[in-house]
């Protein structure tokens, strides 16, 4: 299998803080990778580097065999990297439907007419169809999180970066969410998912990576990683006290 995404010794500092420190990770086409780590471990920075919202200080990023280290975020989206934000960034003055339509048109390269039908389908899959014509700014936090996923889907991604979208969901809602994500996987979308809700993560991912202080702590098959003492100490210990 070819690697869809490869990070080669990537670093990013903010002043004296090394948010990501010499990290190397790769993702195979069709794979779903889960990322765990305590707060401040550098997970969201990692997404900002992959999606192009930040440039690494050192190291290279390859996507689909091409070096995308210096490509702007918009270009990476058009290449097929879609993302959701941990803190939702809805287009508050636009309707829920328009939030998706703009993604389908600019990220997905569709016409408004073709995009509309596709957006309608995505709204149904993410349980937002009944709110299609509401202003996104009027949504509850939960629906805003749904919208994050829906809008990322509307750009027709081949690689989807999900940043903590399961927090605050009930068991039924979590199940619905993981079903949706597994459905995307069956359609060939590769996934990287940052999530604290481990039971949701384990229903989807093939492999887990645990990062701490910007560096790789553990990597491997989910059950084995969760069972390791090191992970339990660093992750569970720190997360419980946080």
């Amino acid at each position: 299998m070819d690697a869809l995404l490869r990070l080669d010794n990537v670093s990013k500092s903010f002043g004296a803080l090394k948010a990501v420190d010499g990290l190397s990770v790769s993702l195979q086409t069709g794979e779903a990778l889960g990322i765990l780590g305590p707060n401040g471990a550098g997970k969201s920075t990692l997404f900002n580097l992959i999606a192009g919202h930040m440039r690494p200080d050192a190291g290279r990023i390859f996507y689909d065999g091409n070096d995308i280290t210096t490509q702007p975020a918009a270009e990476r989206c058009r290449l097929g990297i879609g993302r959701s934000f941990q803190i939702p960034h809805p287009f508050a003055g636009m309707t829920v439907f328009e939030n998706l339509l703009v993604g389908a048109v600019f990220g997905g390269g569709l016409t408004e007419r073709a995009g509309a039908a596709e957006c309608h389908a995505i709204l149904k899959r993410t349980d937002l169809a009944a709110k299609a014509n509401r202003l996104a700014g009027s949504l509850t936090l939960l629906d805003r999180k749904r919208l994050e996923l829906a809008r990322a889907m509307s750009t027709r991604p081949r690689l989807l970066l999900l940043d903590e979208i399961a927090g605050g969901l009930t068991d039924d809602e979590t199940l619905l969410l993981t079903d949706t994500i597994n459905g995307l996987r069956r359609e060939g979308v590769s996934i990287i998912w940052i999530e604290h809700v481990v039971r949701a993560l384990l229903r989807v991912v093939d492999r887990l990576v645990v990062i701490n202080l910007g560096a790789l702590l553990q990597e491997g098959e989910p059950q084995a990683v969760m069972a390791s003492r090191e992970v339990r100490e660093v992750y569970m210990g720190m997360d419980a006290s946080a």
């Binding site: 999606a51 192009g52 919202h53 702007p72 975020a73 918009a74 270009e75 989206c77 058009r78 879609g82 993302r83 934000f85 960034h89 809805p90 287009f91 508050a92 003055g93 636009m94 309707t95 439907f97 328009e98 339509l101 703009v102 993604g103 048109v105 600019f106 990220g107 997905g108 408004e112 007419r113 509309a116 039908a117 596709e118 957006c119 309608h120 389908a121 709204l123 169809a129 009944a130 709110k131 299609a132 014509n133 509401r134 202003l135 009027s138 809008r151 990322a152 509307s154 750009t155």
Partner: protein, 338 residues
């Protein structure tokens, strides 16, 4: 995928609006035959302020570019008239197009410099760059230098009635055209991108919108529009000086019109410009007090009416005379609206 997905953009208000618009256009176009000279002059002024406000609103309300330096482009348009029409003897109406093109052309390298600044720094930066332009014109003695220059000679061959009528029609074309232009732009795919940009820059990038490119494009188009209107302003005034052309007062008035009327809507600048002219006409007899009234009004609106006058009306009555919202309509499902 279903084929019954329809993007709806028209509303009942918009259909009423279309009928009203046709009436307004007819009334305005026939004005040179029935209106007096004073009314016409006020009309020209109102129409070019309308155009400036619409364009500034597009740039600031959607593109997030809060510029206080658009007077630079008014100056470029005005001084293009001096250089090309007065000094080099070209047709003054042709010169309007040249001034507009030059303003757009200069805006591009200026954007490279100014886009390094954000928020308040950008606003102040644009003002400073405009001041530089004022100094350029003030020190260019062939174009009149610091005391300015009269350019009456450029229109000497044209009969006064025609001159007045032409200026009025041009102003009407640009003023009403700015509404149509902004409306059509917002209904196009670029409108979607601009509305997204207005709401979140970082999310816009994440869904494939090249934000810097879009902003540059808006800035250049706005500059060209300001250059065009600048030329028109001084073709009616026939006298220009650096202090009158590159004056911060242009920006202050435009910001007042847009913010009080309602930023980020097409209706807002229309209401703002009408209100500004009504107040100015009625308060003119009271001297400097009218500036205080304007100031108090602006502060009151900003503190009490979020989104200006039109923003408040829109929230309460869900009125859209220029609908740019795409609504999803499906026969299987009843969809809630806002």
């Amino acid at each position: 995928m279903r084929l019954d997905v329809v993007i709806e953009t028209a509303t009942r208000a918009s259909r009423t609006g279309a009928v009203v618009a046709i009436g307004v256009i007819a009334a305005v176009a026939s004005m040179p035959w029935w209106a007096g000279s004073g009314t016409m002059r006020t009309g020209v002024e109102l129409l070019y302020y309308l155009a400036l406000a619409q364009v500034w609103n597009l740039m600031a309300g959607y593109g997030g570019l809060i510029s206080f330096g658009q007077q630079a482009f008014i100056g470029i348009g005005g001084y293009a008239l001096v250089l090309f029409a007065y000094r080099l003897g070209l047709d003054p109406y042709l010169t309007l197009a040249i001034g507009s093109a030059l303003a757009g052309l200069f805006a591009w390298p200026m954007s490279k410099l100014l886009f390094r600044l954000h928020g308040a720094y950008f606003a102040v930066g644009t003002w400073i760059v405009a001041e530089c332009w004022r100094l350029v014109f003030a020190n260019w003695s062939w174009l009149g230098g610091g005391s300015g220059i009269s350019i009456t000679a450029t229109v000497r061959g044209i009969e006064p009635w025609w001159r007045e009528a032409l200026a009025f029609w041009l102003a009407a074309l640009i003023g009403l055209g700015s509404i149509a232009g902004v409306y059509l732009l917002l209904r196009s795919r670029f409108g979607l991108a601009l509305m997204a940009l207005r709401d979140s820059e970082v999310a816009s990038e994440s869904i494939g919108i090249s934000v810097t490119q879009l902003k540059t494009w808006v800035y250049v188009v706005a500059a060209a529009a300001f250059g065009l209107v600048g030329g028109l302003i001084f073709l009616t005034k026939l006298r220009i000086s650096p202090d009158s052309a590159v004056s911060i007062n242009w920006s202050v008035t435009i910001v007042f019109i847009v913010v009080v009327g309602g930023i980020g809507t097409i209706e807002g600048p229309i209401i703002g410009v009408v209100l500004y002219f009504l107040l100015r006409e009625y308060l003119a007899d009271y001297g400097a007090i009218y500036m205080i009234v304007f100031g108090l009004l602006a502060i009151t609106v900003m503190l009490t009416l979020k989104g200006g006058i039109w923003g408040t009306v829109q929230r309460r009555f869900d009125l859209h005379f220029f609908p740019v919202q795409r609504r999803l309509r499906s026969s299987q499902q009843t969809l809630n609206s806002t």
